[in-house]
């Protein structure tokens, strides 16, 4: 059940009605049942996996909190992390490692392959679960007593399959001190759901057609402009796809009285790669910082160690996105750029300097660097990545792969993003006059009707992670 299907909106309507019309004691159960139903609408048997991880991590956290013995605490932590990473590793990376081992042994890549289907959202809920157990271990989070509450934290349907990765204290803060959303939150929630739907169907899915056509046969579409337009189409697709999903998740959570962290902040307006990672998939960046980069030593042990830590964090962050060397290269590419920026002292552009003469130059350069990174992310294999890069810089002029209206639409959204960055108009719509709110929502809905890709319901890109 995808967020961009009529079935999902029926489901959401039923959940909202059931939630608000039922007594207090039932509400968590209703949300949990709805979340499990949502999860099982994909492949029902994987609910067992989700339940198993929930039981393991719930028990591990209780065990860690109950005992004072460092050895027992560590054992419980290791059991929990092993379960999460073990299952994640098996489902997501087994075939990758099996293919590489087969390659090293000179055997066909499929020699040790298994037919494995990746459980929905496993990368997200395992990270969320691990962060909770680690926080309990660090004594930054009290263990959750009610197993229903914990199960809901892991499976809450708005963010179950593709984040944002919510910290336990944020979620339980909302759950235990729940307040019915006020009018601004309701309006903001509705607006975000509509905006997210428009981002997904109008922008992401339309540009996906271009990107998919280009990347399925890059050699068949040579040329500099062709390569750039194919890559930029993918850059537009992945941003609007993921941020659209996140907007819908945040909006739905708001309607239910929960507050999710912001996950995207106009990343293509970033003035550096460091700035980009402060704006792109922020909840993952935060997770990697708190549970990987800082435990590795962060920037506390000298320059070289800092670069190493940055590199390791980004390599693993890349691998988190998918079991392929291309993702590792993508992570390494960003790790390298972050290290270079740190070496050169280029940090985030301070807010007050954001709109200087140099800002557009820096933003364009950052955009180009990010697009180069997407080549590794999207290309079918490393060979294709190199071919595309070659075309982007040394190919003959070629032809634009984007249609005129798509180019116009992309430029229009860029203009909107710049205006939003400067004036935050959209953010103020929810508290603005009724006519402005109505006009914006109606235009977004009209754009879905007229420009939305509806030939088929395309799954969200991050569902596969």
């Amino acid at each position: 059940m995808l967020f961009n299907t009529p079935q999902f909106f029926v489901f959401l309507g039923v959940v909202l009605i059931a939630f608000y019309s039922s007594p207090r004691s039932w509400r968590r159960i209703i949300l949990l049942a709805a979340s499990y139903f949502f999860y099982m609408s994909w492949i029902p048997k994987f609910i067992l996996l989700l339940l198993a991880l929930t039981v393991i991590d719930y028990t591990a956290a209780r065990w860690i909190a109950r005992t004072e013995s460092p050895r027992s605490r560590k054992t419980a932590l290791i059991v929990s992390l092993s379960a999460n990473l073990g299952l994640l590793g098996f489902f997501k990376y087994y075939n990758f490692f099996a293919a590489n081992i087969a390659h090293l042994l000179g055997r066909p890549e499929s020699s040790f392959a298994l037919s494995i289907i990746l459980p929905l959202g496993i990368s997200f809920h395992t990270f969320q679960s691990m962060s909770y157990v680690i926080d309990v271990y660090r004594r930054e989070q009290k263990p959750i007593v009610n197993p229903v509450d914990y199960a809901l934290f892991i499976s809450f349907f708005p963010q179950l399959v593709a984040g944002p990765i919510v910290r336990a204290r944020e979620f339980f803060g909302d759950l235990y001190h729940w307040q019915a959303p006020n009018s601004t939150e309701v309006l903001r929630g509705l607006l975000l759901v509509i905006l997210g739907l428009a981002k997904k169907m109008v922008m992401a899915d339309q540009f996906a057609q271009v990107a998919n056509n280009y990347f399925k046969d890059v050699a068949g579409h040579p040329g500099l402009l062709t390569a750039w337009s194919g890559v930029v189409a993918f850059g537009i697709q992945i941003y609007f796809d993921f941020s659209g999903y996140t907007d819908m998740a945040i909006g739905m959570a708001l309607l239910l009285g929960f507050h999710f962290p912001v996950n995207f902040h106009r990343p293509y307006l970033a003035s550096s790669i460091t700035d980009f990672w402060h704006r792109w998939h922020m909840s993952l960046s935060r997770w990697l910082r708190d549970y990987l980069y800082i435990p590795l030593g962060g920037n506390r042990h000298g320059r070289l160690t800092t670069y190493r830590n940055l590199m390791l964090t980004m390599l693993l962050g890349g691998l988190w996105h998918g079991a392929s060397w291309n993702f590792v290269v993508w992570g390494g590419y960003h790790g390298g750029l972050l290290s270079i920026e740190r070496m050169l002292g280029l940090k985030r552009a301070p807010e007050e300097n954001r709109w200087t003469l140099f800002y557009p130059v820096r933003a364009i350069l950052t955009f180009v660097l990010v697009m180069i990174g997407w080549v590794f992310f999207r290309a079918i294999n490393f060979h294709d990545s190199i071919y595309v890069l070659h075309q982007m810089f040394t190919g003959h002029i070629g032809a634009m792969f984007l249609m005129r209206w798509q180019t116009d639409l992309a430029l229009f959204t860029l203009l909107l993003a710049v205006l939003e960055e400067k004036k935050a108009w959209f953010e103020r719509i929810a508290i603005g006059p009724a006519w402005a709110y109505g006009a914006v929502c109606a235009l977004l809905l009209l754009s879905v009707e007229l420009l939305g890709y509806t030939e088929a319901s395309l799954p969200f890109v991050y569902f596969q992670f």
Partner: protein, 384 residues
């Protein structure tokens, strides 16, 4: 009950305060939701439920071609009621130009809104748009492929393409009838949504419009200016399937050497197509839509003239008549004239067929002359 609105373990608020906050929320939320609906309906209504967007439809698209045909026919001067209008699909071979050359003899002015791929359901809605008062025409000519109306594997009720033809002319008031004319609930639902949200149906056209706005506007202007002329000057195909021999008994065709494999395939697909046992599905469908056309013109004085189009390049074997076919049922109605079933049999010749379904230019000429003469005969002299 006082705690009903709390999900967590925090302190409960009194119901009064809850109701108060609900009321306060509603005051802000409801007008904004209403404003959203009003703006959406206004945008959708103004752009797609008026003639605004249909006026820039791609003229060669299904919806655009239908719209252009209707627009041209509405614009065509009709100084009197001695007008004969032909509806139909691509097999309706009337060339109005040829029939009108005989006007001094027949006294009637012929016009056509025949459009390839259109069906009886489309023809009803076309006629409703062209002749809302049912007072403009002396007669409406309606073609049928076969008086026995044998079923095909396609359920004509569930033909989604009809909505594409008719979208610019379907109204909100059609919500009570049009969607329900589909059998499958999925199609009913889709048709219902299509009438409500016409922008969704125009989506592909709209994207093409955005991609080449200037070219579209230029093309629309060109069609607005010349399409009537082009339509009425059409002469028909100049090639034929002469030399083709068909053995209807064994469903085998013998081709002259010049026929390409593609031509042969088309001929076999059309002439020897497998059919399911006749369950009367097409008859029920035609009975319904002929009935709607009949209802529209009932008591108006306009005659409905049904004819059988030339069937194939060589006469297919005669089948025993299906006495309860729709055409034979409506034949009993007042103001309905069913032309002789065999009227156009002389045209079932390979040299007069361009392909297995359509007549050549010469075939269309002869068809038009026969039809004009026959219409004059059945209608009698025109009213002055």
């Amino acid at each position: 009950m006082f705690e009903a609105y709390h999900v967590g373990q925090g302190p409960a608020r009194p119901l009064r305060r809850y109701i108060g906050s609900l009321a306060e929320n509603s005051i802000k939320v409801v007008p904004r939701i209403l404003a959203t609906l009003i703006f959406f309906v206004a945008f959708e209504g103004v752009i797609f439920h008026t003639r605004l967007y249909p006026s820039i439809l791609e003229p060669e698209s299904t919806a655009g071609a239908m719209e252009m045909q209707l627009k041209n026919e509405i614009k065509r001067p009709k100084p009197d009621r001695n007008q004969v209008l032909a509806v139909g699909h691509s097999r309706m071979a009337l060339l109005p130009r040829v029939a009108n050359d005989m006007q001094p003899a027949t006294g009637y002015r012929f016009a056509s809104v025949g459009l390839g791929g259109s069906t009886a359901r489309c023809w009803y809605y076309e006629l409703r748009e062209l002749d809302p008062t049912a007072r403009r025409y002396a007669a409406i000519v309606i073609p049928t492929d076969d008086f026995n109306e044998p079923d095909t594997y396609e359920n004509p009720n569930d033909r989604e393409l009809d909505t594409r033809y008719l979208i610019s002319r379907l109204k909100l008031s059609d919500l009570t009838e049009y969607p329900w004319s589909f059998d499958d609930y999925r199609f009913k639902w889709v048709a219902f949504g299509d009438i409500l949200f016409k922008g969704y149906v125009y989506k592909r056209d709209f994207l093409e419009f955005l991609s080449a706005t200037k070219a579209r506007i230029a093309n629309v202007r060109l069609y607005n200016k010349y399409s009537t002329q082009w339509f009425y000057a059409y002469e028909g195909p100049d090639h034929s399937v002469a030399g083709l021999e068909i053995d209807w008994q064994h469903n085998v065709a013998h081709y002259p050497a010049s026929f390409t494999p593609q031509q042969r395939k088309v001929i076999e697909d059309v002439l020897f197509q497998a059919r399911p046992p006749d369950a009367g599905q097409l008859t029920r469908y035609l009975h319904h839509w002929y009935g709607r056309i009949l209802d529209h013109y009932r008591g108006s004085g306009t005659k409905l003239i049904f004819l059988r189009v030339p069937r194939a390049p060589t006469p297919p074997p005669e089948q025993p008549p299906k006495l309860n076919s729709a055409i034979r049922q409506v034949a009993r109605e007042p103001d309905v004239i069913v032309l002789d079933e065999h009227l156009f049999d002389p045209l079932e010749r390979t040299d007069l067929f361009a392909d297995p379904m359509h007549l050549t230019a010469e075939g269309m000429n002869r068809f038009s002359r026969i039809l004009a003469t026959e219409v004059r005969r059945v209608l009698g002299p025109p009213k002055s």
